[in-house]
């Protein structure tokens, strides 16, 4: 069994009557990428701040690399790299000077080489001596990662790392996260951009009103929330084949979205049977595909069910 690097036990944060984080339990193993998901204000950032010892939990325990962030924050903070959401730098200083300050705060002895290395790795070697105020959002984000690399951390915490980045910069950033994982660094990231999280996370935890209501691998969550259903999309010209498709075994429903476009919900992968049925009925089959369960679907479906039922439903899957 892999080593547990981040652990939270009934972590709770209250502001007066408002419960920002409600008895959150988390376990991250070394080397995994874990995504905290949820709408804005659902407690993701507060949880992160408690894990880093930057805010005090009202109750509960946290352990990061075996240290208590409350009592040993310096130990935690010298080993964990943190990229806050919408990271800011001293705009009047150059990229190199900004990193040099951070290196000194970390007590690094000879930081010059490390700084150059970190900047080069993030593709900022050319602009190292330019003032940060000339940087784009994506460059600042990469400078934030360069700063993290300076510490050579074993755990990295990223808060909304792709928020506000253009698609190209976001793609680059996801690649950076994959590279971190390849080096064996444990990554905890928070986001509300689900399709991006799905691409890189080993496991996810879904926050809702301060609680983690769903947790696990994306495929497991799909089973749990979508009831193990498969969605097949089929495009066929010619006669209406709705009734014929409905007759295929294990098909639960057929939805004709457009004149020649059908969506099937089925208990298993029925692509072969459905194609055969449509062609036999005289339709011209143009395309058929199986839709992977996406986090967006899981998310939407989950909140539909929460909205439809009463709130006690939340507890059924809570703290998985």
């Amino acid at each position: 069994m892999a080593e547990v690097v981040i652990e939270a036990e009934n972590l709770t944060k209250r502001y007066g009557d408002f419960v920002a984080v409600d008895q959150v339990n988390l376990r991250l193993q070394a080397g995994e990428v874990f995504g905290l998901l949820g709408p804005n204000g659902s407690g993701k950032t507060t949880t992160i701040l408690m894990l880093l010892g930057l805010t005090e939990p009202t109750a509960g325990l946290a352990r990061v690399l075996g240290y208590d962030p409350q009592r040993q924050p310096l130990q935690v903070k010298s080993r964990v790299g943190y990229l806050p959401d919408q990271v800011g730098f001293d705009d009047e200083l150059t990229a190199r000077e900004n990193l040099s300050y951070i290196a000194k705060l970390n007590g690094l002895r000879h930081p010059t080489g490390r700084i150059a290395e970190a900047l080069a790795r993030m593709g900022l070697g050319e602009v190292a001596d330019k003032r940060v105020k000339t940087f784009s959002r994506g460059m600042k984000q990469r400078l934030g990662v360069a700063e993290i690399l300076l510490k050579r951390p074993s755990v990295v915490v990223l808060d909304e790392p792709t928020l506000g980045l253009d698609p190209e910069a976001a793609r680059e950033f996801l690649q950076i996260i994959r590279d971190l994982k390849r080096e064996g660094i444990t990554v905890l990231l928070s986001s509300h951009l689900l399709h991006q999280v799905q691409m890189i996370c080993d496991r996810v935890g879904l926050f809702y009103r301060g609680k983690i209501v769903l947790e696990g691998r994306v495929t497991e969550l799909a089973q749990q929330v979508l009831g193990g259903s498969y969605r097949v999309q089929l495009r066929a010209e010619g006669p209406d084949v709705t009734e014929i498709l409905k007759a295929v075994p294990d098909v639960l429903s057929v939805d004709q979205r457009e004149k020649s476009y059908y969506e099937l919900e089925a208990r298993r992968d029925v692509r072969a049977e459905a194609a055969h049925a449509a062609v036999s009925a005289g339709a011209r089959l143009l395309a058929i595909g199986l839709q992977e369960p996406s986090l967006d679907d899981i998310y939407a479906r989950y909140f539909e069910s929460v909205g439809a039922n009463d709130r006690s439903h939340l507890r059924i899957v809570g703290g998985a």
Partner: protein, 320 residues
């Protein structure tokens, strides 16, 4: 269950000098500071030039101290200018110390490094104080140099000692305003609000507090029958109230330090002057004894205000 506060591990001052060096570099290169330095040098040159014109007429003792205190209409003396310029510089150094970091979104990044908040806040305060001391020392040297050049005599040992104490008192006075603006920079998220609050408090204490103290004294200790005791107690009360303002404390310190003939800062009765030779200068030790309460008062006010800021900052959530 709320956990009892446990002791933190590691030194609270780790990284302190790194912060001091960084903040001082920021101050000394900032446009704001250059502007104020320019103003200071201009005022020093102007007032000292005027004073020298006045002094040349007759040779006296303590020529160098008179350089600082001699005024010629319409110019006030150098110390008079300092009385309102030092608070302004101190406020300019501190009003955006903490909220500026918030607004640049650099605070979470800095606090995620292995340092405590203690080091950051004290570092910012010390950097401001050192910057102020540096500027004042430079101007002090400038004045001494100009004095030697124009008067043609070197300053006496006692004059140097007295003007150094004066320098120290000025730094302590600046410390009060620096600590105050630091508190406002923690309280108010907008730097403009913090600056305005500091300046309005400064205006109140400079312009109105003297009037308010007089009126309060008349109300609280009225002269009903015209007895000398009544008049004396009213005057003493007014003085006590006036001394709640750091401006009064500073003005009194400067008076006694730079004018050796001053033997008392309180109202005194003729009987207390028995056997005194009026107009003869006091030795430095006696002048210091006279203003010791004022000097310690300034230092104590600085420490109290800093402690207030410290408590506020420790409790502040770092989330924007």
């Amino acid at each position: 269950m709320v956990r009892a506060r446990e002791t933190r591990e590691g030194s609270p001052w780790r990284g302190l000098w790194v912060v001091v060096a960084k903040e001082m570099a920021d101050h000394l290169t900032s446009a704001r500071m250059r502007f104020l330095e320019f103003l200071m040098v201009l005022i020093a040159l102007g007032t000292i030039y005027m004073a020298i014109q006045n002094l040349r007429a007759g040779e006296e003792h303590f020529l160098f101290l008179k350089l600082l205190t001699t005024a010629q209409e319409p110019m006030p003396a150098f110390v008079g200018f300092l009385g309102f310029l030092v608070p302004l510089i101190a406020i300019a150094l501190g009003f955006d110390a903490v909220n500026g970091e918030f607004n640049r979104r650099t605070l979470p990044r800095i606090l995620a490094q292995p340092i405590y908040r203690d080091a950051l806040l004290l570092g910012k305060f010390l950097a401001g104080l050192f910057t102020l001391a540096l500027v004042l020392t430079a101007i002090w040297l400038l004045i001494v140099g100009m004095g030697v050049f124009r008067l043609g005599v070197p300053p006496e040992g006692e004059e140097v000692a007295r003007s150094l104490w004066f320098l120290l008192a000025t730094v302590a006075f600046g410390g009060v305003w620096l600590a105050l603006s630091l508190v406002f920079s923690i309280l108010f998220r907008a730097p403009a609000t913090a600056a305005l609050a500091s300046i309005s408090l400064w205006l109140f204490l400079t312009v109105f507090w003297g009037i308010v103290a007089g009126m309060l004294a008349q109300v609280l200790s009225p002269v009903q029958f015209g007895f000398p005791q009544e008049i004396l107690s009213q005057a003493n009360l007014e003085l006590t109230l006036a001394r709640l303002s750091p401006n009064t404390l500073y003005a009194e310190s400067v008076l006694a330090l730079l004018q050796p003939a001053v033997r008392a800062l309180n109202p005194i009765l003729p009987i207390q002057l028995h056997q005194a030779i009026l107009g003869t200068p006091l030795p430095l030790g006696q002048s210091l004894l006279l203003v010791w309460p004022q000097l310690t008062g300034l230092v104590a006010a600085t420490i109290l205000l800093f402690a207030l800021g410290y408590v506020l900052f420790q409790r502040q959530e770092i989330r924007a």
